[in-house]
Symmetry: C2
Amino acid sequence: MPHPGKVSGYTMSSDISDLRKPGLTIHDVAKMAGVSAKTVSRVVNDEAGVSHEKRALIARIISEVGYYPHTGARSMRKPCRDSVGVTFPAPVEQSPLSQQFLLWLFAEIYRLFCKDGGFVCFDLNPFAKNRDEDYARGLWQQRYGACIVAGPLAVNDTTAHRIQASGHPYLAMGRLDSLPDISCATVDYEEAAYLSAKYLIDKGHKRIAMLRAFEGYQPGVERLRGYLRALEEAEIPFDENLVRPVTFDALHLASVTHRLLLDPTVTALIECSGSEDAASVREGARRAGRVPGQDFDVVVWTYTDNAAVLNEAAAHIWLPAREAAAEGLELLADWVQERRTDPIKVIYRPTLYHPSTDREIPKPKPLFDVLLNR
Amino acid sequence: MPHPGKVSGYTMSSDISDLRKPGLTIHDVAKMAGVSAKTVSRVVNDEAGVSHEKRALIARIISEVGYYPHTGARSMRKPCRDSVGVTFPAPVEQSPLSQQFLLWLFAEIYRLFCKDGGFVCFDLNPFAKNRDEDYARGLWQQRYGACIVAGPLAVNDTTAHRIQASGHPYLAMGRLDSLPDISCATVDYEEAAYLSAKYLIDKGHKRIAMLRAFEGYQPGVERLRGYLRALEEAEIPFDENLVRPVTFDALHLASVTHRLLLDPTVTALIECSGSEDAASVREGARRAGRVPGQDFDVVVWTYTDNAAVLNEAAAHIWLPAREAAAEGLELLADWVQERRTDPIKVIYRPTLYHPSTDREIPKPKPLFDVLLNR
DNA sequence: CTGAAAGCGCTAACAA
DNA sequence: TTGTTAGCGCTTTCAG
């Protein structure tokens, strides 16, 4: 423990409650040690050019008096690298943060960035004052020197461009058509959509419905693109009525599924909402008088390996998104510590398979569900 | 979306990739608008004294060009209040953060501090470089202007004194004997220990063992104090062998329970570890050839209302810690927004009762369990 | 090895 | 209503 107010070898007001508000400056320490501010600065920053004795004295004073450099002042000379930002490029209603994901992210960040004392700064609501607010404001404000962009990017996103141009280390959890060089770690959603559609086409289906999540966001575009590619290859005409936007809301999911399945010519469904919500799909089917696995084939997307989202599904697509993110974060840590300098590009391929377990994974809980409903 | 590089009414280099690294300054904006820096500052800070036209022009430029004030520079003039810090005064091994608690805390902070754009800065490992490191360093570094001290305080803590003296809004989740005025929201652990011991004494027990968690920390002291008070009142002599320190580790918990119950004169146990871990208590009893509820009476502490930690327990003590914290955080938000100025003092009383449900609550998962075992 | 001076971006105090 | 000046705490530059 530092013992403020008690420093041997010189005097200062020794009452614990006498510590002034904003805190000690480098000059205070310099005065106590009888040296210049620059010398203290050298000690603080582990720079050469200070005698052993002075260094020891200054270090002792710093520790005893509880001095810490003012990061604000420091950040005016060079960007601060001991803090990582986490920001969400889409409002939580549009892409709810799951509890599981948050816990995972937290633990990863702890391991990679905080073990030796780094800070993590969350920008939980960059859209507060202005819908169009820049989600990287913490970076421009120099709150942190690197950032994790957690969530889907809007197709017309410009903030990522600016982050990229700024040269700060960053990692987005998705690609962006308009920025091929984006630093990202993600899954190939286009391929996932292609695989899903191809699988169903090969099974003989021609009228394949798709729950298209993330409309207006890059992952939504990628889904559509993969779907279209598979249709084109099989020379099946595209019917836009078979692809409908969905949100993560269970009621909406069920209702869209219902409407899609009302069309009796539809014999297959790609559930690529990412909601991992079996109940809603069943409910939607039920309302349309359909039974998954009997009336129609389903391919469901999941973020969990070797687990079923919907037991009746014909096949599952596993999206190793978390695995990709893990590798990306590792590389981001390298970048922050200047062991690399270039944008990260980690893109994992999805896998189509028949689940080997009977256990159905539960729908993930959104972190802010209670709050959103208030 | 801001459209960097495209500002009508004046020219600037219009390529999106031309944005300089550290960002725009107030002077850049001033130059663009043809005004002084101070005028821009006024607009940014919603101060009076700028004509409507100029204000509008400047506001437009700011938004189009994507200017954000440098928080570092700003924090040199006045403490920054748009960021709350969260810090942990004890190493995670000594007081593991549960997943549930983190999720709850996150949601509360979001609701109270981030809804309109505030940041949250986590200091997950203040003890990185030096065991004795000051857990409030983020405050001295002016990273944030208010902080939440999440976890038990060491009995010899001095950092809380310094935070108190600094005048920053803060909330500790526990009291501190050496600082009666501490700003805190917590549960009366002394009372909980007193109630536990008294209940067992009234049932006729004389040799009451206690799993004493948080040794060296304030909550540990409070536990012992309440226990002693109850013994004293009943004129039962204190046997120090009946009170043993425990950690949150399941194996350790079982082994301490085992050793305590080996003494056949011990007829009761206060499980106040706070681990909510029924399995370990049973395992410890089993090893000693004892059965809770038959051989000996147990009082178990729980943080969840109206739920059993251990079904065989004679009684439960409910510690409304989360409820207290919720109120405390609410008051902290008031303090941050300058609707109050004094330290917070929220101390909820524990309740002794017999659980009305048969469901046993599961042991909470530590957030970093995986990581700690690496 | 050490220190003085300038300046980072911003705002309080003061002038105009 | 607007602008000028000084200085916050630090580090860079340059001179001892």
